[in-house]
């Protein structure tokens, strides 16, 4: 998979609650094959204090329209400036980066996301369904107000929500959802580390494979700087090339 650096055009932007937004960016050339779990590294222009690119998961890919969707939470200057992009603005992107979630066949798969960790799960859900899997997704948010759009997930399987205040869905964390009582063959997760660790514990207790997507501080995103290491059983390895998706067996969790 050849990595590219390209200018994309901002085609659509949708503000969600809680400072998150979804942005559609259009490539000028046909998109290469992009795998679920991969990410892009975007250049934030016009930002006095954002020197390095910002890594963002690929939320969805529309090959027909040549569009990549990004799901972004504003947390600092870089993501805030991205939120200020106007339709028609250009965005320089290095992509596709990283490895991918594995895609089993004809299995019962469980996807658990929290915060902006929901980003890669939509595209993953599509690939899982395409490979004949049954897809169950649980997204954890703080309250109804923060709820993300659930419709897109519905076409690939079942979707559940947990809220910390119980305002919609089940009250609690996604790892406490009652659907976890069912039997699954695989779990896939992305979100805050404590949540992912809870998913890992759950999966270990059920003895099913679990893949997590790690976030850490990256300077390049394509294996050149060695800044993004994760301490694995094989030693320090790069999250940007050998991750961001790891089977929990590889990690020292």
């Amino acid at each position: 998979m050849k990595k590219l650096v390209q200018d994309f055009e901002v085609l659509h932007k949708e503000e969600l609650n809680d400072g998150t937004f979804v942005i559609d960016v259009k490539a000028s050339a046909p998109l290469p094959d992009i795998k679920p779990g991969q990410f892009v590294n975007v250049l934030v222009e016009n930002a006095a204090n954002t020197f390095l690119r910002r890594p963002l998961s690929i939320h969805f890919v529309d090959y027909e329209k040549n569009i990549i969707k990004l799901y972004i939470k504003k947390i600092g200057e870089g993501t805030t400036k991205l939120g200020e992009l106007l339709l028609g603005d250009k965005l320089n992107i290095v992509f596709p980066l990283g490895n991918q979630y594995s895609i089993p066949k004809n299995s019962k798969t469980l996807l658990i996301g929290g915060g902006c960790g929901v980003a890669p799960l939509l595209y993953l859900a599509k690939h899982l369904k395409d490979a004949g899997n049954e897809v169950t997704t649980i997204l954890g948010v703080r309250s109804a107000y923060d709820a993300v759009e659930l419709d897109p997930y519905k076409q690939y399987g079942r979707i559940f929500v947990t809220t910390e205040d119980g305002s919609i869905g089940e009250k609690g964390y996604p790892t406490q959802h009652s659907v976890l009582n069912e039997k699954f063959d695989y779990t896939f997760t992305c979100g805050p580390e404590p949540m992912m660790k809870a998913v890992a514990t759950y999966s270990k207790s059920k003895n099913i494979p679990c893949e997590v997507s790690l976030e850490n501080t990256m300077a390049c995103g394509f294996g050149a700087c060695l800044c993004c290491v994760t301490d694995t059983k094989r030693g320090n390895i790069c999250t940007c090339t050998e991750g961001p998706v790891f089977n929990i067996n590889e990690l020292k969790w």
Partner: protein
Amino acid sequence: MVNLEVKLKDLILKNPVMTASGTFGYGEEFEDFIDISQLGGILVKGTTRHHREGNPYPRMAETPSGMLNAVGLQNKGVEYFCDNIYPRINHYNTNILVNVSGSVIEDYVETAAMINELDKIPAIELNISCPNVKEGGMAFGTSCASAASVVREVRKVYKKHLMVKLSPNVTDITEIAKAVEEEGADSVSLINTLLGMAIDSETRKPLLSTVTGGLSGPCVKPVALRMVWQVFNAVNIPIVGLGGIMNAKDAIEFILAGASAIQIGTANFIDPQITVKVVEGIKEYMIRHQVENVTDLIGAIKTQ
């Protein structure tokens, strides 16, 4: 036609643009983005006698117009390089230089001796200035005596072009430059990273696992440029300038200050195609200013 060729003594570069060690992997990481044969040379990752795991995460912090790193010379050791990596990259039609690092003199010497046997490696860059290793490393580059001694010993076993990379974390860089010239260095490259630190005021923790790390990027450019100019006025061997080069204009500034060639480091992370763009930009500058040979620009700053 403009002529971009430069010579670092016997070492001929098709143009003055090289990559900085530790920021360009083994070149392979950039094959998707650029044609590596268009560069004057590439410096591969810091290589040590033995395998090193490097420092624990976190190893990186963004700073105003720059970044701190504390990679700590993670690499699989020189034997692995010779046996596994060298065969994979020795077809590159450019100069491949190995950045040799160590914590005791014997390590430097043994590593250099092994690299000396590699046909397609015309030069090494002796890294006596890495701030990210506990013992040795930078310490060698911060006193004339130790800088001289490591160069002296390596010179005995290394027969090709010996470039020595200087630390900016010194009171007078010209003294170190003169000391290594004296011991037979063929060229000097400068600067390595400035020792810096970053703190997260919310958690009250340092942002690097090692507390301090190496500062690079445009924030260091004024210091790097000053040091290149000082060293240019102090030694007779060629200088390779680096530190914060983000575009052709920056590269020209280093050449005007006295650098025969330049290296691009941190900028590779932000634009993986920056190196070939800088080659193009230097050409354009030369055409616009009617400079025939890039060598005419070396040290051509008008200070009077």
